[in-house]
């Protein structure tokens, strides 16, 4: 089977700052890929390119066998329309560092919004599924709570349920525990661990090396817009071959 994500020489710049200096990467279906690296290394930018919250400046990116953002005809690449981009985004689910729950909607409404409004699914069925999803992240009793009434950890679990409700082929996590109080990190990681066990393909940008070691099928270390090294967790985290990786890991572990 083809890889779910294939990146060839992906570049991205903000003005003169090169956030991504040519990323070549393949992500297989069923993989749990943890991306680690210092801030500003481009790991979040790469994640955001996958679901087109950022547009790539160079190179090519395929997600689920579709060229991201463009349609090829002959020897030309035509930029996709907004609605086509919106459709492409349905392949991926995204979990943000700052949760970004819709603050005027309850937990249940947050989860049903996509299925009902975007996928045009029956509201009753969508609600039943949303309740199941919220139960799965341990929040069945918080269906009617507004985001402001939830702790950070609970908000992030609702955000995971919201992304899952769209039945994505790939889940993206952008530092999902970085904005959480330390005692709340565990509950979110537990949900992600369960999700990984179901065989969901996941790309997780994280600073939680313990989680990466335990759950990841592969760990990638990025620095200054490049992939420095990648491999099995025990290999990258235990016996890194590159000096920069070693420095980063010892800095994180303190």
């Amino acid at each position: 089977m083809n890889p779910i994500v294939k990146a060839v020489g992906v570049r991205k710049s903000y003005g003169t700052f090169e956030a991504l200096k040519g990323i070549d990467l393949e992500i297989e279906r069923g993989e749990v890929l943890c991306v680690i690296g210092p801030s500003g290394s481009g790991k979040s930018t790469f994640l955001r390119c996958i679901n087109q919250l950022e547009t790539v400046d160079g190179g090519a990116l395929w997600v689920n066998d579709e060229l991201v953002g463009y349609r090829r005809a002959g020897h030309k690449l035509y930029e996709l329309s907004e609605s086509e981009i919106a459709r492409q985004r349905l392949t991926t689910g995204m979990v943000f560092q700052r949760f970004n729950l819709f603050s005027h909607k309850t937990a249940l409404e947050n989860v049903t919004e996509g299925p009902v409004q975007v996928l045009k699914r029956n509201r009753k069925l969508a609600e039943a599924e949303a309740r199941d999803l919220l139960a799965r992240v341990g929040l069945a009793y918080k269906c009617d709570a507004y985001p402001v009434e939830l702790s950070g950890g609970q908000q992030q679990r609702v955000a995971i349920a919201r992304a899952l409700a769209m039945k994505p082929a790939l889940m993206l996590f952008d530092e999902p525990t970085s904005a959480l109080d330390p005692e709340l990190v565990g509950e979110v990681l537990a949900v992600m661990r369960d999700l990984a066990r179901t065989g969901m393909t996941m790309v997780v940008v994280t600073h939680e090396l313990g989680f990466a070691r335990e759950v990841a099928s592969r760990v990638l270390f990025m620095d200054q817009g490049q992939v420095i090294e990648g491999g099995l967790p025990e290999q990258v985290l235990g016996t890194p071959t590159q000096a920069r990786t070693r420095e980063f890991i010892s800095a994180v572990l303190g």
């Binding site: 970004n100 603050s103 402001v148």
Partner: protein, 294 residues
């Protein structure tokens, strides 16, 4: 340095921990300023009330004209014009605000020019321009297909509606734009991430949250509009001030009829203020902070 303040001399009212003051009576501070200002306000209020009671005002006339037919008709026209002009203003305002946030430079600048022109000229002038539109465009329509004489169409009602509504739209667009900008960027990204195109994200996610910021100033503008409609009396639109004027031209009871109109304006504004509070409470849901009523 912490050692410095520890060594500062003890203040005169400092009592050593050996003396027990926990049973002493607490005496509240006396708010002399509050009593003083309250006295002044009550005195001024009493003076104004006596001035009106003793003045040359025949209150029976006020009571008599409060519900007279032409005043009630004027009241109805005022309320109707307020509602319609405000609706037009909000529709134009939301449209212009969304246009101003568009990436297309033509769309964006067209909205900017609209705001620039209609905020840049007095609304009285705009009312007169619409009313006299026939001087510029004698006929309206598509030549050959259908055409009408502008004078026939541009009634005081239509001129007032266009003048007030289009002017209002220019102000409302700035309020709406501020509201849209107040919503966190993360909300757009989250909406995109579940596959929403831009307009759907605006309608379902961004605008409802912007409403919390938009409603209070729009309420303010609506209340402004109630009174702004009185300007339409200059183009013969029969709203309340126009009706009051027509009556006092005949009977010379100027102050009495102005008071009649004033009473009705206060009544409308009071009702609208109450509605605004309820609306604010509705859009405050999930905002973590109820509407401050005090």
């Amino acid at each position: 340095m912490s050692s410095v303040w520890r060594q500062r001399p003890t203040m005169s009212n400092f009592h050593g921990p050996t003396e027990d003051i926990s049973q002493f009576e607490h005496v509240r501070r006396r708010h002399v300023g509050r009593y003083l200002s309250a006295t002044v306000i009550v005195a001024i209020g009493a003076w104004i009330v006596t001035a009106f009671v003793r003045g040359q005002i025949d209150w029976s006339i006020v009571g008599q004209f409060l519900t007279v037919h032409s005043i009630v008709l004027g009241l109805a026209n005022t309320v109707l014009m307020t509602a319609l002009a405000m609706m037009l203003g909000v529709v134009l305002g939301v449209t212009a605000a969304i246009m101003r946030l568009s990436a297309n430079p033509v769309v964006n600048r067209a909205a900017g020019a609209y705001v620039w022109f209609f905020r840049g000229t007095p609304v009285l002038l705009q009312l007169l321009l619409w009313f006299n539109l026939a001087l510029v465009f004698p006929n309206l329509g598509i030549p050959g297909l259908f055409e009408v004489h502008t004078v026939d169409v541009m009634t005081p009602f239509l001129a007032a509606l266009l003048g007030l509504g289009i002017n209002q739209g220019a102000y409302t667009s700035e309020v709406v734009r501020a509201g849209l900008l107040s919503v966190d960027q993360g909300q757009y990204e989250a909406a995109k991430s579940i596959g929403m195109p831009r307009l759907q994200a605006l309608r379902r996610i961004i605008l409802p949250q912007a409403m919390r910021v938009i409603v209070p100033p729009i309420g303010n503008e609506l209340i402004g509009m109630v009174k702004l409609t009185s300007l339409a009396s200059v183009i013969q639109f029969p709203e309340m001030v126009h009706s009051a004027e027509n009556i006092y031209y005949a009977n010379n009871r100027v102050i009495e009829l102005l008071i009649v109109a004033g009473i009705w304006y206060v009544v409308i504004v009071t009702v609208l203020s109450a509605l605004q509070t309820r609306l604010e409470r509705h859009f405050a849901r999930g905002a973590g902070r109820s509407v401050q009523t005090r």
